[in-house]
């Protein structure tokens, strides 16, 4: 090594050290430890005992695990497409010069800066049986809805509130994608007499598809981690209709102190998220849109 290269190496180490040490300690080590703990039976106060894949075998037979996995999948697979569709529609509407454009953008983005806890707390009195939503329905002559008290309605209500919080977020990402589409395409299309709808289906939708794809996968990854919304809004009820995977991880780890079992579940969550990440990384490169 030349003297200069050595000086550069020393400088690099010095610049890297603060972040790298923390990164190794609080991210890499826990990620590895997570898998190791998943192979043990460990009640926190006793000594961890190696049990191989026993926790994973137990998971397969655990009805509650499957229930929470199903609830989480229900939340994600219903919520994400609706969320993306609404956000895309709003972005298309706002992607033009119009009076009030900034007002709408600022308002729709507002819930993004609030915590999920605050969002859930704000919505709780609205979805009570005698709350605002049923009051509005009654004023319109419609019957009330058991928003969070019925096992059928609870998850759709959670999904609705989850969407409410994030429409602005994905809308802004869509707006960035829309702005990359050359104006001239639309000008040419309107000269040829294409309607707004035709312009959307033939130009906007295909050309914004990389963004759509990005939004779908990223929203999936976030949705599978749902925890605060259901914890505060429904507590997982009624009758476990909204208990999610991360809620079960939390309960296993910090209410029942089953560290190994909870880590095994966390590993399952990791694999699910890994799959979505790989789909995104792989297809994002291949997505040809012209």
């Amino acid at each position: 090594m030349t003297r200069r290269a050595r000086a550069e190496f020393v400088a690099a180490l010095a610049f890297l050290a603060p972040n790298l040490i923390g990164f190794l300690l609080f991210l890499i080590l826990p990620a590895i430890a997570s898998l190791a703990i998943a192979l043990t039976r460990w009640r926190l106060l006793d000594v961890p005992q190696f049990v191989g894949l026993q926790n994973f075998a137990d998971l397969l037979r655990d009805g509650r695990f499957w229930l929470t996995l199903r609830n989480t999948a229900y939340y994600s697979f219903v919520r994400v497409p609706i969320n993306a569709a609404i956000s895309l529609a709003l972005a298309v509407l706002l992607n033009r010069k119009m009076i009030g454009r900034d007002f709408f953008r600022v308002v729709l983005f507002l819930p993004v800066v609030m915590s999920i806890v605050a969002t859930a707390v704000i919505w709780r009195p609205l979805v009570e049986s005698s709350g605002l939503l049923n009051g509005v329905l009654a004023a319109l002559g419609l019957p009330g809805v058991p928003w969070i008290t019925s096992t059928n309605w609870a998850m759709p209500t959670v999904i609705m509130i989850g969407i409410w919080k994030e429409i602005g977020y994905y809308m802004v990402i869509f707006l960035a994608g829309l702005q990359a589409i050359p104006r001239t395409y639309y000008e040419a299309a309107s000269i040829d007499g294409a309607s707004n709808w035709q312009q959307f289906t033939r130009i906007t939708f295909p050309l914004v598809s990389p963004t759509t794809f990005f939004v779908l996968t990223v929203a999936m990854i976030f949705s599978f981690q749902v925890f605060a919304l259901t914890t505060v809004l429904t507590g997982g009820g009624p009758a476990n209709a909204t208990t999610t995977l991360v809620m079960y991880i939390y309960q296993s780890g910090f209410e029942n102190f089953r560290m190994g079992y909870a880590s095994a579940m966390a590993f399952v969550l990791f694999v699910i998220i890994l799959v979505f990440t790989l789909i995104q990384k792989r297809l994002a490169n291949r997505w040809v849109h012209y």
């Binding site: 610049f15 826990p30 915590s115 509005v136 990005f214 969550l269």
Partner: protein, 280 residues
């Protein structure tokens, strides 16, 4: 004739656009206004005023009452401390490591960067249990320091700033190299001033994440006076049950610092969050 038709359909389209946007705006603002209105109602009015958003007489006292019920000032202070330290450390350490990745050559650089990239997809939920055990081992359970430490070293910061640094023309640094400036001087006086937009974005995203986090405070914090505002709110709303006027006053207190900052700096917030979102 044809032209009139297109103008009419054009006007119809604009009408529909405004109708749709208006409906969504109302459904976003409605719950928020309801929360503000409820926070000013008496307990009786919460149930007796039907669909009226606002009370007869605003009960500003509700906002005093919640500070009597819980140490809300402590919660806010704790959130400020955790958020500011987390943001400061995130910015500082990420900018330094990003500079090393972007500008310095050293063996194993690319492999190490791939490791950073690969861990970007590991969510905090997945490493919650090992992090809890580690913080417990370090004796930092039930401390604000534990909350700060587990949120500073997100690889997103390094990734984002490295991207930005690589976009800064090397020529700008060459003058400094000729002047014999050290790496530290180049980093501080050439790179950092130019990277201000990226640093602001990262600051905003880190601030939101730290202020709004729920899971880690829930797991790490035991003592009432060490709760963050988000954790405090979640517990207070359970304790207060259906005293919605007080619950909403507490919620307004919890969200208003960030909402006010957002309203004052809309563009920075929206662009910063969108930028990091579309890179993540």
């Amino acid at each position: 004739m044809k032209r009139i038709e297109t103008r009419d359909t054009g006007r119809l389209a604009v009408g529909i656009a405004y109708l749709a946007l208006g409906l969504v705006a109302v459904s976003v603002l409605g719950p928020l206004l309801w929360a503000v209105g409820t926070s000013l109602k008496t307990y009786g009015e919460v149930f007796s005023r039907g669909l009226a958003f606002f009370p007869e007489v605003p009960q500003w006292d509700n906002y005093v009452e919640i500070f009597r019920i819980a140490p809300f000032d402590r919660y806010v202070m704790n959130s400020v401390i955790v958020s500011l330290f987390a943001c400061a450390f995130t910015l500082l350490t990420s900018a330094m490591s990003a500079y090393a990745f972007a500008r310095l050559r050293f063996p194993g650089r690319d492999a190490l960067f791939v490791l950073y990239l690969a861990t970007m997809m590991v969510p905090q939920q997945v490493i919650l249990i090992p992090n809890f055990l580690l913080i417990r081992e370090l004796g930092l359970l039930d401390t604000l320091a534990g909350l700060v430490l587990t949120r500073v070293f997100v690889p997103l910061g390094t990734f984002l700033l490295r991207q930005f640094f690589m976009g800064i023309p090397i020529e700008l640094e060459e003058a400094a190299i000729i002047d014999g400036m050290s790496y530290t001087r180049r980093f501080v006086s050439v790179i950092l001033p130019l990277a201000k937009p990226a640093l602001v974005s990262l600051f905003i995203v880190s601030l939101l994440a730290a202020w709004n986090d729920f899971l880690y405070p829930l797991v790490f914090i035991r003592t009432d006076t060490k709760r963050t505002i988000t954790l405090g709110l979640s517990i207070l709303q359970g304790d207060l049950d259906i005293r919605w006027n007080l619950v909403m006053a507490a919620t307004i207190v919890a969200v208003s610092p960030l909402v006010v900052a957002y309203l004052a700096l809309q563009r920075l917030f929206i662009e910063g969050i969108a930028l990091t979102g579309s890179k993540g």
